[in-house]
Amino acid sequence: MIEVNEKIAIDHGLKKDEYKKICELLKRNPNLTELGIFSAMWNEHCSYKSSKKHLKKLNTKGKKVIQGPGENAGVIDIGDDDAIVFKIESHNHPSFIEPYQGAATGVGGILRDVFTMGARPIANLNSIHFGSPSNKKTKSLLRGVVQGIGGYGNCIGVPTIAGQTSFDESYNGNILVNAMTLGLVKKDKIFYSKAAGLNKPVIYVGSKTGRDGIHGASMASAKFDDKIEEKKPTVQVGDPFTEKLLLEACLELMRDDSIIAIQDMGAAGLTSSSVEMASKGKLGIELHLDKVPCREENMSPYEIMLSESQERMLIVLENGKEKKAKEIFDKWNLDFSVIGKTTNSKNIELYFDKNKVANIPIDLLSEEAPEYDRKWKKSKLPQKIKFTKKDFKNLKITDVLKKILASPNVCSKEWIWEQYDHTVMGDTIQKPGGDAGVVRVHGSEKAIAATVDSSASYCYAHPFSGGKQIVCETWRNLICVGAEPIAITNCLNFGNPEKPENMGEFVECVEGLNEASKYLNFPVVSGNVSFYNETKDKGIKPTPTIGGVGLIKNYKDMITMDLKETGNIIFVVGKTEGHLDQSIFAKEVLNEKKGPPPEINLFNEKNNGETVLKLIKDKLIRSAHDVSLGGIMTGIAKMCIKGKKGINFYKYKGLIDKFEFFFSEDQGRYIIEVKKENVDKVKKILDKNSNHYDLIGEVIEGNISINDEPTLSVDKLADYNKDWLNKYMVN
């Protein structure tokens, strides 16, 4: 075997100091297998060495939280002994290298995180971000990613109910693919990854191990450079069919109490799964690597430990349950092998052909892993831009609206979500295209709403405000379908933590999201950090993605955003101040990219949200939509398009300019549709709760009509909205 030295350690992505620390801790030099194990466990992806310090501050507690961060996924209580397990995870680097397989295995990985805990997956979501549409690679990356997400989710039979897609040139060399899964489990049947008990058999199940993805975990944390070509062969291929079998087999085995601990083999495969189970149980673990089912010949212990072959699980079983467990995996035609046992050595001990090939104290891999307090730079709030009437002089509202509706970040994403099976399992009651996806809790009156959101330009302009904003937007999207927001998961996609600017973006976004999460009582229960999203020294815009989950007690109370009937009155709840900086209007129409993002007033945010939710529960609202990208006008236009209805705007009476009124992106606002006979009731409730509101128009047939501008046909707008992506992908 190769003699390990500092250079080899550095090739494994370790820093000089880190290698030195390993030798000191071990009191000897590691051998190659051991070095591989250290490099995987001490890697950013597994150790969270740059982020840990800041993540500790997150608000993770709440009355409904059953399991916060630290397990395979978070768990929340939704009543009647039911719980929802959910998490979001990134698969950015692999998806850039091989979009189909990268995205597919991303979905596969997050599904495993959820069913490892005993939950049957009931919904998938995805948040995907690509470079500028004019970038050469964008189209094929988008196509590959969408087909990969669909290919995996559709095959395994879990509906993809919502998502988010954005384009920005900062992703030209680093696309983002974040996948989220929700699962349903009974509260007393949740499985954890903490091993317990001595001499318990350790079982390997699922697919065979090949040389795929060796060093995937280090790749996920390495910045891209010109050497990227060399790293290509490490891409894993997903097999959703096997995952479906693995899902059914695991759930079948979970019906009784044979399992003590279970952990999927994700990043760093057998290494991280075995170390984590042992570490949580404060135990040792002994593995016989020649018993690991291999797909290829002559695989070395090093390769077996670091392989990232997909669709595999590690289980600690009760003694005596092996036979029954094996029968289940045989039935599903999956590999099953007893590969080791738990021990009291507190070490991970590996054997191969009867030789001991590695022996490392588990603590050194987990607790002793490095933790950094990286330097970070505080950002300044940019100066507000002073727009004047002159800036809007030659603009027509109708032209602006058309342009915004057809812009890449606002246009309809139907081309994407029509390729995702969003109805399998028969419980989808709100499909993609609304504010949140909604599925019924099978066989009950309850329903679960879920959404993913992010806002890189706000975060880039001012990380702290952006971090707050995104949690609030998630909250609003849940409220808009009538769901009570319960908890969130987060996927923190950032540049290089070794650069103070990037690290600062991270720190401040996390602070912002934490502040909103606390104020709204909307705790973080799971998440994932993806650093080093940079190419040739250029990082992406900071992109924290928030996945939110909410509960609808009776699914019949769910509402949608499409306008329902002519004659109804449209309100905007929340104050319109005219904040245009960082808006899509400023960027797309005025070509102004500077300025601060809109401010968040958490008091108003909470107050407006709670009142709107109450109005929905009281059945006083026919449709609702939050005001987001593109402001009131864009929001209304989407409601018109979906409902095939129009609106007649009342003569505008406010103080601010009409462009500011229609296109500003002030936060904490909702558009609601109210029956005429309920208008007074609604006003009274809004007044009583001190919510600011404006009555802005009335639902009519087929057109958007604004006093002094030509009317626009909603059918035409629908085409503008839909055509951009269709045409882009066809040509």
Partner: protein, 227 residues
């Protein structure tokens, strides 16, 4: 009425079908692909999904499973057999219905509501349904129905074309054809019309809170014919 839904490795609409059949009054049993006999049934359903991951050709590997022989036997005796989506592909691969299901014309998976016009003559599946145009749901990659001219003619002559894609007004045209199927065919019968293979999923549209409720008519009609 007794029904059986066969589960193949990779089936994923088996539960949905079970739920639908029970909702409309069938006593349903789930049958594992490795079993040799189907329990006593009035109806056998091959559900949707990705049996064997759709590897090789959709439905081709499931068509070699143990249980298929008893499905064929059951069908040959005149028993009612439905194949939905992947189930349709399996029926094609076993030769129980004619034709082939190729990759969708635009090479994309399509998940959406569509409209179909049903053939109501001489069959127990659509005969007494009052609505002329049904809003059902499709979710597939390979639903592009193809057969030879001769086969098409003989199927037409024998009323074997079960449902065709149309628009909300019943117009059957290229525009309302989601996947390139010849003659907008969405489903076919065998000669005796006891076997139905179709791409749309009636089991996903059986409640007003779902994307349509028209699947209910399908199940209600079927049940009324079996009593």
């Amino acid at each position: 009425m007794k029904s059986s839904v066969i589960i193949f490795p990779g089936s994923n609409c088996d539960r949905d079908m079970d739920v639908a059949l029970k909702k409309f009054g069938f006593k349903n049993k789930m049958v594992w692909h490795n079993d040799n006999v189907i329990p006593k049934s009035d109806l056998v359903v091959l559900p949707g999904g990705f049996s064997y991951g759709d590897y090789l050709r959709c439905g081709s590997i499931a068509a070699k499973s143990n249980i298929i022989n008893s499905v064929i036997e059951f069908a040959n005796k005149g028993g009612l057999v439905i194949g939905i989506c992947n189930g349709f592909q399996i029926l094609i691969e076993t030769g129980l219905v004619t034709g082939a299901l190729l990759r969708n014309k635009y090479l994309k998976f399509i998940c959406k509501n569509i409209f179909v016009k049903a053939n109501k003559t001489h069959n127990k599946y659509f005969n007494k349904i009052k609505k002329d145009i049904l809003e059902l749901h499709i979710a597939h990659n390979d639903g592009n129905y193809f057969c030879s001219k001769d086969d098409l003619k003989s199927m037409q002559d024998n009323d074997q074309i079960a449902i065709r894609y149309c628009d909300s007004n019943g117009e059957i045209s290229e525009k309302s054809n989601p996947n390139g199927s010849i003659q907008n065919i969405a489903g076919v019968f065998n000669e005796k019309k006891n076997i139905l293979g179709m791409m749309p999923h009636p089991e996903r549209v059986i409640d007003n809170c779902l994307s349509s409720n028209d699947g209910s008519y399908f199940f209600e009609n079927l049940l009324s014919n079996m009593k």
